[in-house]
C-alpha cells in the first residue's frame, strides 16, 4: 500500500514540474544554468540507472549475464537500431548467456 502512496506522489510531482514551466514567468526560468542542470541531471540519472541495473544486486556488486545485455545493447545502438530492438537485444543476450550457464 505504501508503494501506491509514493507512486501517486511521483505522479503529482511529475505533473507539478510540467505545469511549473507553463505557470512560472519565462524570464524567471529562462536561466541557462537551470536548463544545464536539468540536462546534466538527466544524463547523470540515466547513466546511474544503467549501472545500477547492470551491476547492483541489492547492496553488492555482481558481474553476471546483465553485462552481456549491456554489451549487446551498446552494439545495437551503434548500429542505430530502434529502441525496441535495443531492448530485445539486451533481453536476448541475458537469456542466452544464462542458457550457456553464466548467470
Amino acid at each position: 500500500m505504501t508503494l501506491w502512496l509514493w507512486l501517486l506522489l511521483s505522479c503529482v510531482l511529475a505533473y507539478a514540474w510540467k505545469l511549473m514551466g507553463y505557470l512560472v514567468p519565462a524570464s524567471l526560468l529562462q536561466n541557462p544554468r537551470m536548463s544545464r542542470v536539468a540536462g546534466t541531471m538527466t544524463i547523470g540519472l540515466l547513466a546511474s540507472l544503467t549501472v545500477v541495473n547492470t551491476l547492483a544486486s541489492g547492496q553488492s556488486l555482481a558481474l553476471d549475464a546483465r553485462l552481456g545485455a549491456l554489451g549487446a545493447a551498446a552494439v545495437a545502438l551503434v548500429f542505430r537500431a530502434p529502441f525496441l530492438v535495443v531492448v530485445l537485444a539486451g533481453a536476448g543476450a541475458a537469456a542466452g548467456l544464462r542458457l550457456l550457464g553464466w548467470n
Binding site: 542542470v37 544524463i43 546511474s48 530485445l88
Partner: protein, 250 residues
C-alpha cells in the same frame, strides 16, 4: 489546410507509433519489477514521462524504497519543466488547454513542436505527438503488462537485461559531445562506489547530485542532455525533397 498535409502532423504520428510501441517494454518490465497491473497503468496514465517511469520501476526492481523511486523519477522529470517554459513561449496555450498541454509535455512532443518554424505547425506538431504518444503509450503499456505477467520467471527471459538495455537506450541519444560523456562516466563511477555504502535506490540520487553540481559549474551548452529519446526529424536529415523538410510551409 488538411491535417494530413501538415508535415508536423505526419512527424507527430510517426513519432507516436515509434515511441508508443516501446510502452510494451515498459509494461512488461514494470510488472516483473513487482508492480501490479494498475500501478503500471497509473504510471503511464498519470506520470506519463518515459524516463521517469523507467526510473521509478528501475529503483523498485533493485530493491530500493518507494521514496527513493519517487526521488529518481521526480529529478528525471525536471527537464519537463524546462520544456514547459519553451512551449509556453512558443504555443501560449490558454485556459484548460494549458493544463492539458502540461500533461503531454514530454521529450517527443517538445521535439516535434520545436523542430517546426511556423507557429501553426508548431501547435499541430505538439498536440499530435503529445496526444498520439499518450494514447499509444498507454495502450502498449497495458499490452506489455498483461504479457509480462504471463511470462513467468522474468530472469529466464532476460528481462533484467532488457531493463539494462532500456536505460542505455534512453541515455544514448543524449551523449553528443565530450562533456555529456564525461558526466555520464563520472556519474556511473559515483554509482558504483555508492552501491555498497548506502541503501538501494540512494546511489542514483547521489549520481543526480554529482550531475547537478557538474551542470551548475560547467559552461557547456545550456540544452545539453535535453535531446529526446527518439529524433522526430531523423528521416528528414538524410531525406530528399523540400516537402519533407521540417518547418517548410506548404
Amino acid at each position: 489546410m488538411k491535417l494530413t498535409q501538415s508535415p508536423a502532423v505526419r512527424v507527430g504520428l510517426s513519432i507516436s507509433i515509434a515511441t508508443g510501441l516501446y510502452g510494451i517494454s515498459f509494461g512488461a518490465l514494470s510488472v516483473t519489477s513487482g508492480l501490479d497491473f494498475w500501478q503500471t497503468m497509473a504510471l503511464s496514465l498519470l506520470l506519463f514521462s518515459g524516463g521517469s517511469q523507467f526510473a521509478f520501476i528501475g529503483v523498485v526492481a533493485g530493491g530500493g524504497s518507494g521514496i527513493a523511486a519517487m526521488g529518481a523519477a521526480t529529478l528525471l522529470g525536471m527537464r519537463n519543466g524546462i520544456y514547459g517554459m519553451q512551449l509556453n513561449a512558443l504555443l501560449q496555450p490558454r485556459g484548460w488547454r494549458r493544463f492539458a498541454a502540461a500533461h503531454v509535455t514530454i521529450d517527443e512532443s517538445t521535439a516535434t513542436s520545436t523542430g517546426q518554424t511556423d507557429p501553426a505547425e508548431q501547435r499541430r506538431g505538439f498536440w499530435t505527438a503529445g496526444i498520439g504518444v499518450f494514447v499509444l503509450w498507454n495502450l502498449f503499456t497495458a499490452v506489455g503488462a498483461l504479457a509480462g505477467s504471463a511470462l513467468g520467471d522474468p530472469k529466464q527471459w532476460g528481462l533484467d537485461g532488457a531493463a539494462v538495455a532500456a536505460f542505455l537506450g534512453l541515455l544514448w541519444p543524449r551523449l553528443k559531445g565530450r562533456e555529456p560523456v564525461a558526466i555520464a562516466v563520472v556519474c556511473a563511477l559515483a554509482t558504483v562506489l555508492a552501491v555498497p555504502l548506502v541503501p538501494a535506490g540512494v546511489p542514483i540520487l547521489v549520481a543526480a547530485l554529482v550531475a547537478a553540481v557538474a551542470g551548475w559549474f560547467s559552461h557547456g551548452r545550456s540544452d545539453e542532455g535535453l535531446e529526446p529519446d527518439v529524433d522526430p526529424y531523423a528521416d528528414q536529415h538524410h531525406g530528399s525533397g523540400a516537402s519533407t523538410r521540417p518547418g517548410e510551409p506548404l
